[in-house]
Symmetry: C2
Subunit: 175 residues, 2 copies
């Protein structure tokens, strides 16, 4: 398990000072470009909650769609896209949450999951956790039950875990 995790880290490229000075960005595109590494990452996300029944995988655009979709297919369950404001065409439920500067809004179709459906949340990155906490609450607003939250990468020192109190979350790679 640890060996595999080490190998995946080898496919993540460090970009200093992006998107702004002082931030070390973890670029997942080399991992995505390598079929074996990408497959391994998807497998490990699927294995994060091995004993949990999952009805849907939900993920937030845009990078979340990459892993969310692949995990949904691998688990053979439906996929629920959570999007920025005014991107979804049917009746939506919304949640607005605070960012470092200002606010952002996420939306999901109100009928996206049935009542008490088990929903696994997927994203590539846990940073401050604000977006994922909002996404979890949004799924609950439409009647779903968040049975797990899995990230490819966790930036542990940013303290995102605190924002996810009450949810069972796991990460494949921890920095």
């Amino acid at each position: 398990m640890v060996t595999v995790k080490m190998r995946l880290q080898d496919y993540i490229r460090d970009i200093p000072d992006w998107p702004k000075k002082g931030i070390l960005f973890r670029d997942i595109t080399p991992l995505l470009a390598d079929a074996e590494a990408f497959g391994c990452a998807v497998d490990m996300l699927c294995a994060a909650f091995p004993d949990t029944a999952v009805d849907y995988v939900a993920a937030v655009e845009a990078r979340g769609f990459i892993f969310g979709s692949a995990v949904a297919r691998k688990l053979n369950v439906g996929f629920v896209p959570i999007r920025k404001k005014d991107k979804l065409p049917f009746k939506t439920e919304s949640i607005t949450y605070e960012l470092e500067y200002g606010t952002d809004t996420l939306q999901v179709h109100a009928d996206a999951v049935g009542k008490d459906a088990n929903v696994l949340m997927i994203d590539d990155l846990l940073a401050t956790g604000g977006t994922m906490a909002a996404a979890c609450r949004l799924i609950e607003k439409i009647g779903g039950r968040v049975v797990g939250v899995a990230f490819l990468i966790e930036l542990a020192q940013l303290g995102g875990a605190k924002k996810l109190t009450g949810y069972d979350f796991k990460s494949v790679i921890r920095y």
Copy 2:
């Protein structure tokens, strides 16, 4: 084949007058939410070019990522995300193309595919074709070879096929 196509259409929801009056939007979220329909759609996209060697699947954010990622995993090849301006952290190549009103810019990492790599382009929807034509040219700018373009849905009356002259494109569902 025809039967399967008919079934997939049953999972696409028509939304009149969205995003603006007079437009009939084809909403794929019911298809994504159904594991069997989503799996079938991915299988049919993979089957679009059965005799073509593929090294990478490339797709444009955000909805393109959903099918692009799943197809890449199913074909066991790497995935190349094509993004809007200033979203990718490494050295990028760009292309600007015309929309109905104004222009838009797509970017891809300059090292995303090796020289002469065979790239399969995936998107959910062929409408006017401008975005996909730009995406194909962008992959060529970084040395890739576009060996096929596959869409889940083609809105045939919008004439997108013309914009893709010179590329081999297929669509699973045609309206």
